[in-house]
Every structure is written in C-alpha cells, then in structure tokens.
Symmetry: C5
C-alpha cells in the first residue's frame, strides 16, 4: 500500500460529505472518555455513548471529550449531530489520509494534525491523525487508536494548582499540540542521534547494510517532513486566527508553539541534508576502497607481467638459444628479474602510486 | 509528436480567435447530452443539435449540457453563438494544448482543467482537457472524448434527496472538479504504490529493466506535475472569485478542493523526489555489484599471478638450473606455492579485502 | 564571440545616449515600409526616407512603420527626431544585446523583445531584437534584418473585414507579439520533439554523438530560457500598464499573451529538466555497458587463470614430477580442467554474476 | 548525543513554563556581576545574590547584570521574580537548545542568540546561547559559562569619554550583539582561510585525510549556518521593533548589525558552496588518478600479452615445429617481438593513449 | 588570506565607529583631485590637503573630489570633519571588506559598490571598493588605489557641450556607476568568451589542465556574483530613494542602470551554470575515454587468454600427449587458434562491443 498517500478508492465517486473511514482499523471498539474540570473540581470517566457527554455543551466547566478509534462512522456522525458539527468537518475527521488543516467555524475551530511515533520494531515512523474541535467551553479530540501520549497532560489536570485548571479548553488544546510537537522533536532527535553517528561509520566502514540504513532514514525523514511542514503552517495560522474561542491569554503560548514547529522543520531539513551528504560520502568511501584495491592489483600484476614473459622466452624450444647454454645463464636471468622488479617499484614510487 | 507541448503549427499565423481544434480526434461524432434537474424532477437525454438545449438558458432549473468531442469547430461555434460565449473562450475550449485557466466574464465563469487517466496498456498517463462554462442556471462542459468518469455524478443526480438536487450548477461544477481531483489522487496513488515497491527491488535486484521503469515513471510523474500544479492555482483562484454566479453556500466545498489539490501536488513532489533517490540508489547498487565482482577478480587473479610465474621459471630450458635436479624439487615448489597462496590470503584478510 | 552576452567594447566609455549599433550587420540597406489602414482603406508601400512617413503622426488612421536593419544609427536618430523619441529609447533600439524591456513614456510605450528562430543548418537558435514604439495612432517597429515572420499579419490587414482593420495600433502590437510568442512555442516544440525522441536512444544506443547532441540542446534551451523568461515579465507588465495608449478593448487579448508566455516558460523548464535527466540516463547506460563488458572479462579471465596455471605446472622441467609419467596423466589433467571450469561456472551462476 | 538538536527528553510532559535547564553544565557556580555606569561614574562588582542588584531597577543609571551559568534554575527563577520577567521567558533562557528569538513585552525586550566559538582542539564549532533582557535602564544577560568574549566591551565602558558611557542599555545591547556577530565573522573567516587553501590540495594531492577534513568542514559550516541564519532574522526584526525601550539614536547602529549579519550569511553560503565544489573536484582528481594508473596498466599489459603468447607457442613440445630448427629462429622471433612492441606503441600514440 | 571574506581581526573589540583601514595598502600616498565645473567653465587639479577643497561645499558649481588610497585614516577623518560626514559612514569607507550598501542621510547619500578588474597575469578577478558621498552640489569618491577607469568620464566633462556639464553631481554619480557596471559586463564577457570556447575543448580534448581552468573560472565567477548581486540590490534601492539630492531628471538614467545590473547578474548566472555543465561534460568525456581504453584492453586480452592457454597445454611435459606426435599437430593447432580468434571477434561484433 502506498504509505505516502492513503487509499482513496473507497471514497471517490461518493458525494462529498459521505462519512467513510479512510485508514486502517486499529482498535476494537472506539473508546470515549470525558474529563471535566474547573479550578475547584476534576472528574475523569470512560463513557459508553456520546449521549453521556452532551451535558458538556451547557456547563461552564472545561470538558475534554476524547474519542479513540475512528472506524465506526456512525459514532462520529452521532457526535456531529449532538454537537452541531458540519458534515465536511466529520468527513475530515474520518479521512486520516488528508493534509493537516485548520478551519474556523462560527462556534468551533477545527484542527487536524499528525502525531508521529517511532515504531522501534520496524524502524519506521508512524503517523496518526489527531483531530480536535475546540468550542468555548469544551474540546473534542479524535485519535486513530488509544495511546498514552496524553497521559502526562491528564496527570497535570489532576494537580489542583496547575495552570491547566485555571485556563479553559483553548489552553488545553495548546497543551495537547505542545505534546504532539514535543514528540516531533523527540522522534527527530532519536533519528538525528543515529544519523550523526553514521558519519563516522560511513567514512570508516562503508558496508552495504549502512547504505540500506541511510536509505531507510532518508525515506523516514521524508515522511516526517511531510507531516511536520504542514504542521508549521497550521500553527502559524492559529496565531493569526481572530476568533473569540481563543482567548488573548494564551497567545504567548501559541507563539511558543511556532518556535517548536520551526525548530522541528529546521532540524528535519538539516538531517535530510546530512543524509544526502552521507550518501555522497559513502559513494566516495566505496570509490576510494575500490581505488585502493585496483591500485594494488595494478602494481602487483604489472610487476609480474614482464617477469613471466622472460620466463616464457627461456621456456622456448628453439634449437639455438645461446643464453640457455651459458653456465650462469639461469642466475643472470634471476638477477635481471630482481633488477626489473626493483626498477619498476622505484618508478611507481616516483609517480607516487605506492 | 511532442507530448509535453502540443502542435501549434496549425494555429500560428491565424488571427486570434480563429476556431481550430488543436488535439487528436478521439471520437467519431461529437455527442451532446443534457441533464436538467431541480429538487423535484430530473431529465437526462441525448440531443442531436445544440438548438435542442437553448431553452436551458431561460428555465430556472439547473441544466448540465455535456459535449463529448471537440473536432467539429462548427459545433462549438454554434454553442458559442447560442449561449453568447466570447470568441476567445471558444478558442480556449478547442485548444487542448493550453495551460489550465480560469476567467471571469460578466455572465459566465470559464474554467479549463486537465483530467488525468492511467493508460494501463502503455503505462502512460493521458491528459484530457475539461472545459466548463458556468452560468447562473446552467453548466456547459466540453470533453475531448466520451468517458464514464462522471457517471457516478449522474447517478447521484438521479437520487432525489441528494445534495446535488438541492443546489445549483455551481455545486455541480464543484462535484465535477472534485471527481477530476480525486482522479489525480487515484492516478498518483497507483503510481506511488509501484514507486514505493521499487525501493526494495532497486537495492536487491538492480536490473536494467528496472532503470527503464524508473525513467518511465519519472517522465510520467513530470507529466502529472505539469497538469496538477496549474490545477492548484486554478482552484485557489476559484476561491478568490467574487462573482455572484458562485453562491456563498458552496465556499466550504471549494476550500475542500484546495486541500485535495494541495495533497496532489505534495504527493507528486514526494514521488518525484523518491524516484530521484531510486536512481541514486540504483547507481550505487550497480556500483556495489561491480565492486564485488572486481574485488573477486582482483583477489583471484592476484593469487595466481605469482604461482604462474614460478611455474614459468621452472619451465625454462637453461642447461643449469640446479633446483630441477633436486629429488624433491617439485614437491618443495608445490609447498612454496601453497605457502604463497596462504600468505596472500592472510594479507588480503588483514586489509579487509575478503 | 560570447553569444550569451554581446560585445560591449564599442560602447563603454561613451556618454549614455550615444547612438551606436551593437550587433552584427545583417542587411545591406535598412528598409522602410509603411502600412496605413483604417476600417475602409489600406495602403502598403516601401519608402525611401523616414520623411515620407512623418504624416502618419497626424492622421487618424492606424500606421505601421517597419524598419528592417539597424546598422545606420543616423537613420534611427532621424526617426527619433521626427517622432520625438527620447535618446535613451533610441539607444535601447540599437543595443541588441540588452534584456527585453518595457517603458512607459508620456506619448509612447516602448517595448523590446527577442524573436527566436531555429537556424536549421547549424541547429542553433538565433535571437533577434524586435523593438516597438507604440503611440496613439501609429506603431513603429525595428527589426535587425528583413524577415517574413510578420507576413501573415500583413495578409490579415489586407482582409477588409478582419478585426485588425477595426482596432488600432495597440491591437496591431498585440498581434505582432502574439506572432513572436507563437514562434517561441514553435521553436520549443520543434526541439521538444527531438528531445522526447532522444529518450529511447539514450537508453538503447548511448553513443557519444548523442551526448554531444544533448549538450547542444542544453545550451540552446538555456539560450531560449534567457529570452523567454524576460518576455514573460514584459508581458505581465503590459497587463499592468495604466496608459490610455492601450485601450481597454484589447485587455482580454493581452491576458491571452500571458498564457502563451507562461506556457513557453513552463515548456522550456520541462525540456531543460528532461535534458538533465537524459544526461543522467546516458551516464547510467554507459556505466551499464561498461559493467557488462567488465563482467564478461572477469568471468572469462577468471576461468582461464587457474587452467593456465595448471598447464604451467606440468610444463616445468623438474627431473621428478611423477604425474608426468602416468599413462593417462594428460587425460586426467584435461578432465580436471573441465571440472574446474564447470565448478567455477556454477559458482558464478550461484552468485548471479552470469 | 545529537549535536544539531539538543535533548528534549527531560522537558516533554512537563507543563510549559517549567524551569528546567536544557544543556550541559559548564561552570561550577553561576557567577553574577553587575556593572553600573552613567556618563560620570562607573562601578563593576561581583555579587553573591541577585538581591544585591535589585536596586538597579530603580536607578537612572545604566546597569548591566551578567549571569554566567544556567544550571541553577532556582537562581533564574529568583531573577525572574525580582525583575518581573514572565515564566515563558525564563524557560527560554534555560532551554539552550532552542532557536534564536526576539520577543517584545510591555517592559522588556527579550533576545536570545547563539555565540559561536572555534574549539581549536577538536576543530569543532561550539555554540552557546546568549539571552538578554533589555529594559529602559538595565540589561540582564545570561551566558552558559563564564567567558571573556565581552571583556573588550567592559574595557570600553571603563573609558570615561566613550560612546558607551553616554548612551543607555540599548546601545550596550547593540555593542554586545556586535561582539557576537564579529565573532561569527571571525569563526567563518578562520574556516574560510583553510577552505580556500584546500582548493589547491584537492587538485594536487587528493588524499583521503583531505576528504575527511572537507566533510568535517561541511558539517561545521552547516552548524554555523544553523546559528547564523536565524540571527539574521532576529536582527532584521530588531530593526522593525517599535518599542520605546530602544531609542531612535541607536537605529543607525542597528542597521550596521544587519549588514554584518548579511555578510555572515553570505560568506557561510559561499563557503558551503565552495566545499561542495571541493568534493566534486576531489572526486574528479581521484578519478583522474585512477584513470592514469589504469591507463598505464592497460598499455603495459597489452604490450606483453601477445609477446607472452608468442613465447608460449615456441615453448610447445610438438614433434614438428619447423621454426624451432631454423638457425636464426630465436633471433628472428626476438626481432618480431620488438616489431610488435613498436607497432603497438605507435598505435597507442596515434590514439593518443600515451 | 581568505579572499572571500576580508580580515576582521584588527577591528573586532574596537568601539564601532573606530576608523581603521581594512584592506591592503595599494598606493604610496593618498592622492586628492578636484574637478569643478558648470556649464561654462571646468577646472581640474590635484590638491595637497582636503582644506583646498572645502570651498566646494559652498559654491553652486558641481565639484567632484576624488581620493585615491584609503590607508591614511587620518585623512579620511579630516574629510569627514570638513564635510560633516557621520563616523559610521567613514568607517564604511575604510572597511573595504563589507557588502555594497546605500544609505540616506539628511544631507548626503552614501553609496559603496565594488569595482571589478580582470588581473590578466593571475587570471584573477580583483575587486575594489568605490565609495561615494553625494551632496546637493558636490560628490566625493573614495577609491582604494589610483586607476584610470574614470578617465573617459573626465574626458567627457572636458567637452563643453556634453550632458555632464549641464547636469549636477547626481548625474556625475550615475555616470561613474555606469562605468563600474559597464566594467562588470566587460569582465563577464571576457570570461564568457573563454567559457563558451571551453565547451568544444571539454568534449574534444579533456585534459586535466582544462579541469583546473574550469575550476578557476568557477571560483572567479562565484567571486563576481558575490559583488554583482548586491550591486543590483543597491541600484534598485537608488531607484526608490525619495531624496531631493537626486533630481527627477536623472530617473530614466537610473532605470537604465537597473537594466545593466540585471543583465550582469543574468549573465553571471548563465556562465555559472555553463561551467557546472562543463564539469559534468568533462567527467563524461573522461569516463568515455576510460571506457574506450578499457574496452580495447578487454577485447585484446580476452582474445589472447584462451590462445595462451592452448600454448600452455602443449608445452606440458607429459610422457603421453598424443597430439604432440601428429605430423601436422602444430599446424592444426595454429589453425584452431585462428578459428578461436575469429569466433571471438564475431561474438564481440555481434554484441556490438567492437
């Protein structure tokens, strides 16, 4: 399956706004969880149906509804109905193959962004879509599968005197995106460490496994750039939104996100260039090695060629070859061979070939 | 024939606005079809002459006139006359070699865009021009040849409760462009799957057929980019039009098109880079292979060279070669040869050549 | 002589505005021709001196004064005097080595642009400068040498009911530029056809003549881009002029020019990239070929090396070589040689070298 | 450790604004130093706690508080409390892995920028973060470790009639940044000298140590660009600030910084390209050398091949080989060998291979 | 010494505005020359001290004070004092290693630009800084060393009816910059001629001296671009200045400068690309040549290998080798050898290797 562009076959030909899940099913049953808090109290529970969360629309407290698993379009549709989300937004939530985007609606801000994970078994980077619908007093997030990436955020909500408890869902959204971006940096750093290490190996021991590894990293870095660059756009556009859903208090935090996004893009670019340079270096190291071997052969062979020829001469069966009958002929010839060898070695030395 | 730039010979020297078909004739007789619908009724028929469709200008219902086949300029001229289309627009419809474009006129919006198909027999991507003239209550589309690419749209028009039946020709145009763009993604994805597959083949089995295939894909991806990039421009310009022919209701749908266009361009770029990287990898794999063979030869030949020389020495016919008359001379020499061989193998081992 | 940058030696050190012809003399005597027309009448004649055309300034009819040959600065100066052209403009007309440009003056618009021709003998692209001075009711054009490139335009002026006869000199200028741009496309297409053809040759039969041809085309495409890219700028600037010398009627035609200019630039870029890719492919094809030959040698030589060694062994003259005296020694050795050969062939087969 | 992207592990999962030092501990105890001056007096002392510097907020004199060593977050927090710095700013001060940035606050301007040093032992470029908080009448700077890079600035403050004594903390900040940028140029120039030198070595003596050195410089230049390019952005943004903390008097000095930043970026780019070109040249020089050796072998071997074959022919033991019994057979054969050799040499000469 | 970035060691650590000459001393004593003229009279004299020129500030005539040689900072300081030039401007005049710049001051416009010369002996391009201070009625220019590059301008000032005599110092400055830019074109053209010539040599006779020459030209073209590109910026900024020191009369002349600057940059880019292409071509030509030689060796060696083996076989000393005793054995073997040779040649022919 094309990893860089997800299957569209199921969708094309359907009316736009048709709710069809595009992606791989990753969890058995979607899981709903609601965390409701304000400065004084905090409640965290798993719920069975979205109806158990509809009250969140009305209360003044901050509510975070998280849905893990997108493969039941009916559920998403129900969420959409209960919270008045437009059909196109639901389609965007389900289509995990699309580009990150941000859209402003009268009562909601919609953001979808990629989360990156390093799959240690396969050495591949995995991307999952995080969609978030932000309203004045609640935040709904959609993940492709249950993950514990936001566990630290939940921990921080539990601390009564934390900043999260004082500020609204816009700050919560900021915190989640901050988590996602930190993960970008972690993934890039993990790869970067290996990429920087490779430099010495490339020069010292250019084996073909290394070349395969470099190519693997190139593809993965390309995959990361594909997710990180649009994320940067999204974040710079959040900064420019003029919606009263996002309060002025969190603007400095948003600017902070821009810095991290910028740093992610920069680092990915640098590692991309470093890998390109590794390949050049690898090529050269291989070339040098071949050179070295060829040179050895050349010198070795070139020295024996005239000697073997001389031996051939005196192996001939002509009736008259006067040298053959000289008493010291054999020893003279051996001396000549030594002299030829030395002369050639000196010549090669002079041309700086050895 | 130059595929990347269509013949202009027929045209140059003619006054601008001359109606001459630039392209290859692809159907026998142009085919006219009108679909007329509103929320309550729907009519779909093939017509003989454009006169049978002129009434569409006046009625309140949404009419979609589709013309397959452009090789009869007279027909296009008649359509232009009946629907008051400016001559330059007709020329643009007939010139299938031009860049995608969008133009705003007082009563019409003109859009031309490329449709892409994958010709499975030749492995080539084919482009056809779709021109559309959008007015307040009708849409005229021109295709180079009859195709069933819009069949799903027609099916959806037939469903009485579909959104198509409720909205006007601007939404119909959106649906058609959506079809075209979905096709871009399908074509790119189909190629992308193969391109991603190639990666392993390039490393594992770099045969020259693969190189030819990579080059073929490069050319086809270049051809796709040539069509997709201007399409993105066109769509971003539709978004900025301030014409009352396009109602505010469909603006969110148009934004959706931008996303798909962006995704197409991104993916095409990624696959372009991936192919470039395949070629580098192929080159290196070939180089590695040559290296491996050369190395084998070097070592093999280098070992035999001194042995053959020794054999040559004792094949000489000097009267006096004392060693020849030693009882075990032959066996001593054989032992020396084995020793030389082992020494050389150890040396090569030490230099990490074997 | 530097073809990409014309001689400046004659000029530097002269006061700016000095009228000196920079270019090669291409015609014997400059030729003056005036075509005067309005919707009712049309006159076309060659004149001896520019004085015979001065009346064109006053009449209401559209006058097109064409001057072929720029090597008589005196003539250009006289034209300048009679039609009140500023000295810097005259200098620009004579300096055929400069970049295309457009300048707005109170009573004139000055445009200079390159015309491209394919010199079939040398396979080179030739550029000539077309300068045009547009006023309210006349157009003066300057060409480096007489050419029949505008003959079709003259033909169209002759047709009484043509659009040219109805519109003024601004439309005439548009028609001429349209001719020039169409020629760009023709030149690019002609080269493009050959460039697309080359692809198969590069893979199938990479001879060094082909490499020379590719390099020739690269240089010529570079030369074309040097002319076409500034032309695009010029044309986009015409579109933005707010001069009453250009009437609103011809704005749609000007937009059409932009499309053609854009298409020319795009195509030139595509063919540039295609040539770069040809070179890569050529290199690889050559490499493959060398690989193939080297591989053959390796295998061939490697098989004979041990055989020759064995023959050498039994050509030695030791007194005691027991094998030599076995009855079937010779035939056993031959069998061993066959066995060695087969073993090696199997080994190479296994490593997939043959 | 990834040098191009500093560890984020410690931080992620913490609430934003958590004060944690990201970097390596470089000094034992942070060192605080305050320099207080106006046109008449000047005081310079090391202090124990930040409380000894709080008075600087109130006085009219210019105060420069410098803190060397960031590994005690508590100290930074205290500084933040005493001088009312926002928590995000403190986090930025401690996180030495972030991009250079500038931020405007109501009472402060925050700038962080990288200082570059050339570590002569390892040949590596080291970057350290300089953070500065500028207020109306004081400047607080934070360095990762004590350094004498600003010593000349302190010397200049001591001179009573210097410009520094007359102008405020904004001019002091300008002077410090000027120091930092001058250091950029010094580092780049030092590397540049070596890079320009390399050119001849690459052509004349392409040893593999040189290739390693080139690769080292490429990585270091990449590292420099990573610091210098954002510095340029920062400086161009200082120029656009409209804060009354920066007085109009120092605007011309700021413009001067832009020039230096621009020059740094330009030079880094030029040296980057020069290194890329060195690698190409190196490759070619290696290729030429291999060519030269291969050519020698080819000619040498090719000459002996037929000679050895001839000797082999007359070493055969056929009963009937008439030539063997000619009286001058041997000498005739030797003459033939000389003739063959001369013929081949002439042939190679003709083909310009020798 | 780093040619691409001049020494900064002397400067760093000094207070900004310190007057220190950065460059090499090129003349013995600075030379002062004043040319004073208006439409009626003209005076040209060398003066001893700048005091002899101070009157130029007050008179209505146009005065051009030229100073050759910058190594006496005291002199520059005196000029600054007498003509009220700000210290930063004086620093810019002395620092010949900086980027070209333009600055507007209340009473002066400051421009510094590089002059390029081709040093024919070393084949190197030399850059010198020309600084100019333009005021309402005088122009002060600073050159690094005396040169006759502006001699033609002086000649033109002498001609009473020239435009220079009619217009003020702004037109004089335009004339000088025009000279400088014309020199750019001359230098580029001179190099361009050789670069275009190289093309054939690269294909026909790729010797390593040519490669060195190409590399030399690449470095020199890089050096030119480093000077020419900022010059283009400077000139486009002159065009946008809104200072009454520059009268509206000379605006068209300034636009002319833009054209020349643009042409210089374009040409430098084209030659840069052409050189890059030369290197590719050179590489390929070398590769082709190696191919050709290798192929010859392969075929030559491959033919002799089996023949020599056969000779070896019949040189063996087995007691029983029946063929040796056939009467025509020798001749049969020779015939077999000829047959083998022909077969192999035919095989190679068939594979198109010869």
């Amino acid at each position: 399956m094309a990893r860089f562009l997800k299957k569209f076959d199921k969708k094309s030909g359907m009316p736009p706004g048709s709710l069809i899940f595009i992606g791989r099913q990753k969890t058995e049953t979607p899981r709903l969880r609601i965390i409701d808090y304000d400065i004084e109290m905090m409640r965290d529970e798993f719920i069975q149906t979205i109806d158990d969360a509809v009250w969140a629309k009305e209360t003044e407290t901050t509510s975070w509804i998280n849905i893990d698993g997108l493969h039941e379009p009916e559920l998403i549709k129900t969420v959409g109905d209960k919270f008045n989300l437009p059909p196109m937004m639901l389609e965007d939530i389900l289509n995990t193959g699309q580009r990150p985007k941000i859209e402003e609606h009268p009562d909601h801000i919609f953001i979808s962004i990629k989360m990156l994970f390093l799959d240690d078994d396969q050495g591949q980077v995995k991307a999952e879509q995080l969609s978030a619908v932000l309203a004045k007093n609640y935040l709904i997030t959609f993940q492709e599968q249950p993950g514990d990436v936001f566990e630290p955020v939940r921990e921080r909500i539990k601390r009564q005197n934390g900043r999260l408890r004082k500020l609204g869902p816009d700050y919560l959204l900021y915190t989640l995106i901050d988590c996602v971006l930190d993960n970008y940096l972690k993934v890039i750093e993990k790869m970067g460490e290996r990429i920087e290490e490779m430099e010495d190996e490339v020069l010292g021991n250019p084996v073909s496994e290394l070349l395969e590894e470099i190519n693997l990293y190139r593809r993965e870095i390309a995959y990361i750039r594909k997710s990180v660059r649009p994320a940067r756009e999204i974040i710079s556009r959040i900064n420019k939104l003029e919606s009263d859903i996002i309060s002025a208090d969190i603007l400095p935090y948003l600017r902070d996100l821009s810095d991290i996004a910028e740093l992610s893009v920069d680092s990915a670019e640098i590692y991309k260039e470093m890998l390109a340079s590794h390949i050049t270096t690898y090529n050269m190291a291989m070339g040098n090695r071949l050179n070295e071997i060829m040179q050895f052969l050349t010198i070795f062979a070139t020295i024996f060629i005239p000697l073997t020829f001389l031996a051939g001469i005196y192996g001939m069966n002509f009736d008259v070859i006067p040298e053959l009958h000289y008493k010291y002929g054999y020893f003279v010839l051996l001396s000549i061979m030594v002299a030829v060898t030395i002369t050639m070695l000196l010549y090669f030395k002079k041309r700086r070939w050895i």
